[in-house]
Amino acid sequence: MKKIFVVIAALALVWIFAHQMLSRQGALNTDLHKVQQEASVVERKITNEMSDIKESKSDKLVGAFLRSDFEFSKYPKETQVKIKTLGEILASKNDNDPRLDGDFKGLTDQDKVAFKEFYKALKPESLNERGTLAYLMGRSIQGAEDLDFMKDILAEEPCMSLENCANRNVAKDTHLDSMDETTLSYPQLMALESISRFTQAHIIPELSSGDQLHLIEAIREAQRSPIPSVARKANELSRNLRL
């Protein structure tokens, strides 16, 4: 009888323990579920807020990139869309935005006029932005006028510091100075690289004599550049083309 009582008592204890464990597990599951739900609500909220911020921010930055006298409305709708898209990409600082590959191919004459204005409207210190414009225009070189725009970029006075192109920053940081110097000459390096690509994609003697002349003038401009890396690369290009 005593043994039966002990067994029943033991079974009862096991049942109580198991029951408690199960209900604790259930409570934990409920808690976890609630936490997951709360986390997902917060995540959704953050994502929505981020995209709201991104939208309003990019709109503001598109405005900030451009001079106040830059007249958006004088360009055709399609050109306005391209300017706006480019402004968004530049504001995002994401150079790997696939729209850079897809949305600016086959620039029209109007697009090119607008992009030249866009370039001039940028602050001199907006070096990545100016270089991106040089890249997009350089990808669409078709003749003398486009080559002249590259030449104009190559003829610009060197930007003297990342903070203020007009003032030299004499602080010395030999460790990564050259990265800064590459950025300081980024629009020129991009223009020259674009000219180099143009020469690879075309048979020079088959270009019109006018285009050949403008091409040579652009390369000569780069050879005269006070920026050593630009002049060095231009000399190399000139040698390769046997100019």
Partner: protein, 225 residues
């Protein structure tokens, strides 16, 4: 307890969104954190068709996962500092904490292309390797000449690199590994925009200028030049 669980759930969410596992100091501004996370996320998604032998040796295959592992196994936290110079973008201070990277406000203040920002953090990450003497730089030769025999002199600072600890005599150092990384991105990345690939070439050319002696030849050979 419930609050802690909620926080850990959020941390897991944040980790899965951002990909890289890094701890940011609270005094690092949200804008700096955001830019760094975006730049690392860009590196983390790169896919390549192939890679050069030296890239294979340093980073493995040309793949964002390998760039992510490379970074995460060297840098665990990021702080805010001026890095001792008005122009610096990032640094590591190996004798303070080799696995901590410091970012300056210039990281977002100056208009560098994305590839340049990525390059500088990977350059600095290489400096965190204690077992390799932090890949300390070699002294540039005096005089320091370019391939045409002309002295390399900055038009911006007016100084030369001759005698400065700003060169590498091995392709495995910070300049060498950056050159190799960028060259491979410019040549073999299959999901980079054309601009990114052009930028990678421009900055790789620049970094090659810091290689001296056999290191330059080794890299050229690696690139098939």
């Amino acid at each position: 307890m419930r609050y802690l669980k909620f926080l850990s759930a959020l941390a897991i969410v944040a980790f899965s969104i951002k990909g890289f596992c890094l701890q940011f100091d609270p005094d690092l501004s949200q804008d700096l954190q955001k830019q760094m996370k975006e730049d690392l996320a860009f590196m983390g998604q790169i896919k390549g068709a192939k890679q050069t032998p030296l890239h294979q040796q340093i980073f493995g295959q040309l793949d964002g996962e390998n760039y992510k592992t490379f970074f995460e196994t060297r840098i665990t936290s990021v702080g805010h500092d001026s890095c001792g110079d008005g122009k610096a973008v990032a640094c590591v201070m190996p004798f303070y904490d080799a696995h901590k990277m410091w970012i300056t406000d210039n990281f977002i203040k100056f208009s560098h292309p994305q590839v340049a920002r990525a390059m500088v953090v990977y350059h600095e990450a290489r400096h965190s390797e204690g077992k390799n003497g932090f890949w300390s730089h070699a002294t540039c030769p005096t005089p320091f000449l370019d391939e045409n025999g002309n002295e390399i002199k900055s038009i911006w600072t007016g100084s030369t690199l001759a005698g400065e600890p700003a060169c590498d005599k091995t392709p495995f150092g910070s300049y060498g590994s950056s050159t190799i990384m960028l060259h491979n991105i410019s040549q073999y990345c299959v999901n980079c925009t054309d601009k990114v690939k052009m930028d990678a070439k421009i900055y790789s050319d620049d970094q090659t200028g810091r290689l001296i002696g056999k290191a330059k030849e080794d890299v050229k050979k690696d690139f098939g030049m």
